[in-house]
């Protein structure tokens, strides 16, 4: 029977629209179905999409103008030893130092709805047919093959390949017999509060930093250590987001009374933590409260990790494929990466006229070879906090926090990051300057609240000669970097011998050298603080006034 479409994408969340757009770019007839009335109505998450997501994102995101709420320069961890006595230690080692920050960001804080809508519009512009208010209830199956979908209105729509981006619950994948329901100990319920606050107050209290709080179980300020996140607060443009989350099962038997516990945590932290009580509470007004489950520890379970992410006629991406991260809850990058890989494989499969499981295995191979996806679904630092609690060992508590959300993350992130970075540089030596332009453009967009489709202010170009001169200098620096990178590629073989083995051992190198480097690094940062601040302000002024076109990627 003839197919109605080449590709059907189920779900227009962070992954779905990316896959759909890339398929339509390759001139495949693509349909995207979304159960909510408006794209993003039902996506609860947002928060920080980390920098690696943007660096290695599909080009239309990296080189585009997506809407976000505030750049994030890093994390301030509050290690709460005794909240009543105010005995709190701070680990803020994972922060991009000035003058790089805030332009070179650690990530971007965003609301899901505008971001997902931005992605969906890009997909529609590329030729995707989008149908909202349409719940997919089942698949059309012929033998083992998925041949299309069935909607809540009973409509049957056929396609060569279904890309399933239905999100973490995976109701359809379970129905199709491809995956199983996750056990409760791998799922966390996130209780989220959104407060309105004046931008000037947020600038002063938070700046660009995300605040995270961790404390002993008996203080009841957050879930038992290792069974969820402590409290997290994200600064947005003129609002803040507050999230506490806890696993659905804290031991082999018991399911906690989450309603009661969340109220208790929320009350304790907001009434006892001084910076919340004195600084935030008088200035913040509650605007929304929502909750959503997410796959906190799915990746840590080998059996769950082995569940198929493809079958005859179907590829699963993002949360639906179990790719939510186990440490930072940063599932958006993996949703983007897997969407791009799925689109590439789907395009190839349709060209080869082979959509069988055997052909689509290429997708699984690429997911397994993706260094950052694999790193992000296997991180154990958050889980290990349980050990610190069991032993009530402050040293261990500090160690795991430092490794997960402090500079210690370099001891496990550097190698996977460098591996991907090198692959990107090899593919396109001008990528470095694209990244630099991305950071500057994103920051200028943020300063002027100017994103695609929602231009609130038009960026005015000044006629100042000084700014023009700086623009020329900026562009010639980029040209110089491009030149160097292109010439380095000519000596690729030599580099291969040196750089690849070096990148493979970077984690070990970091593990060994960090105890020495870190104190030196923080002393230098402190020493250079006055100069760095001045330089940072100068850079911000330049970005504010510069002609936006110098940050475009053509």
């Amino acid at each position: 029977m003839d197919e109605d479409f080449d590709i059907i994408v189920v779900g227009a969340g962070f992954g779905g629209s990316v896959a759909a757009k890339l398929c339509a770019d390759a001139e495949l007839k693509t349909l995207m179905l979304e159960r909510s009335e408006n794209v993003g109505d039902k996506v609860i998450s947002g928060l920080t999409i980390p920098f690696q997501g943007f660096l290695f994102a599909p080009a239309f995101i990296r080189d585009g103008n997506p809407p976000f709420e505030r750049p994030a320069d890093g994390i301030v961890n509050y290690i709460i030893k005794d909240i009543d006595k105010g005995d709190i230690e701070i680990d803020d080692s994972l922060k991009v130092p000035k003058p790089l920050s805030p332009i070179i960001a650690f990530g971007y804080n965003t609301y899901c709805k505008p971001f997902c809508q931005w992605q969906a519009r890009k997909a529609v512009e590329a030729g995707v047919e989008l149908r909202t208010s349409t719940t997919v209830t089942n698949f059309i199956k012929e033998g083992e093959f998925i041949k299309g979908i069935i909607t809540d209105k009973g409509e049957k729509i056929r396609a060569k390949i279904v890309i399933n981006a239905e999100g973490s619950q995976g109701i359809l994948a379970i129905k199709a017999g491809v995956r199983e329901k996750y056990p409760p100990e791998t799922i966390s319920l996130a209780d989220t509060y959104d407060y309105v606050m004046r931008k000037e107050d947020i600038d002063k209290i938070f700046g660009y930093s995300v605040k995270m709080c961790w404390g002993w179980d008996e203080q009841k300020i957050s879930p038992p250590l290792g069974y969820g996140n402590g409290l997290m607060v994200w600064p947005y443009r003129s609002s803040i987001h507050f999230m506490q989350d806890q696993c659905l099962r804290t031991d082999q038997k018991s399911v906690p009374n989450l309603g009661k516990l969340f109220d208790e945590y929320h009350h304790n932290i907001t009434s006892k933590l001084l910076w919340w009580k004195d600084l935030v509470a008088p200035r913040a007004k509650l605007r929304a409260r929502m909750w959503e489950g997410f796959e906190i520890y799915v990746g840590l379970n080998k059996k769950l990790r082995k569940m198929p992410n493809h079958t005859d006629g179907m590829i699963l991406i993002g949360d639906a494929a179990g790719l939510e991260s186990t440490e930072l809850c940063d599932g958006v990058p993996a949703a983007w990466y897997s969407a791009e890989i799925a689109a590439q494989v789907a395009i190839e499969a349709i060209k080869a006229n082979d959509v069988s499981k055997a052909f689509l295995k290429k997708y699984d191979d690429k997911i397994k070879a993706h260094s950052i996806i694999q790193w992000s679904i296997k991180g154990r630092n958050r889980y290990n906090l349980r050990i610190a609690q069991q032993e009530h060992d402050i040293k261990k508590l500090k160690k795991y926090i430092h490794q997960g959300w402090g500079l210690g993350s370099l001891t496990h992130f550097t190698t996977p990051f460098m591996k991907l970075l090198l692959a990107y540089v090899k593919e396109d030596p001008t990528i470095i300057t694209k990244w630099i332009k991305m950071y500057f453009r994103y920051y200028q967009n943020w300063l002027h609240e100017s994103y695609d489709y929602v231009k609130k202010k038009v960026i005015k170009v000044t006629a100042s000669k000084r700014v023009r001169k700086k623009e020329r200098k900026f562009l010639s620096t980029l040209r110089f970097i491009d030149l160097i990178m292109k010439s380095m590629l000519r000596i690729r073989r030599v580099l291969k011998i040196i750089i690849i083995p070096l990148s493979n051992s970077l984690n070990t190198l970091m593990r060994k050298s960090l105890p020495i480097i870190e104190p030196i690094n923080s002393a230098i940062i402190k020493l250079l603080n006055p100069i760095s601040n001045k330089l940072s302000n100068k850079m911000i002024k330049f970005v504010d006034k510069a002609n936006p076109s110098i940050f475009y990627v053509y």
Partner: protein
């Protein structure tokens, strides 16, 4: 028609969602897990069985379904365009 509730600001519920979560009485053992995790208070235990009080504040998080170890909760999504929506997720 769209509904809102004071205790859950910033979220709207579009009518027409219907009974998208159901309980299989025969399988339910009345363990109360669903009651404990549902922040919208959708469940209650009556005569040692879970009952759905109302799904009007349900946020479709599916955690009731995750914690039901007896597979007594039959979970599906509401019809397209109905159920909760929010701008602040």
């Amino acid at each position: 028609m769209v509904k809102t509730f004071k205790d859950f600001p910033g979220v709207q519920w579009v009518e027409g969602a219907g009974e998208f979560i159901k309980i299989n009485d025969e399988k339910c053992i009345g363990c109360g897990n669903c009651v404990k995790v549902c922040l919208a208070g959708c469940f209650e235990i009556m005569e040692k069985k879970a009952k759905i009080k109302s799904l009007e504040k349900c946020l479709e998080c599916a955690v009731c379904w995750y914690v039901c170890q007896e597979e007594a909760i039959i979970f599906s999504w509401p019809p397209g365009g109905t159920g909760y929506k929010s701008d602040w997720g």
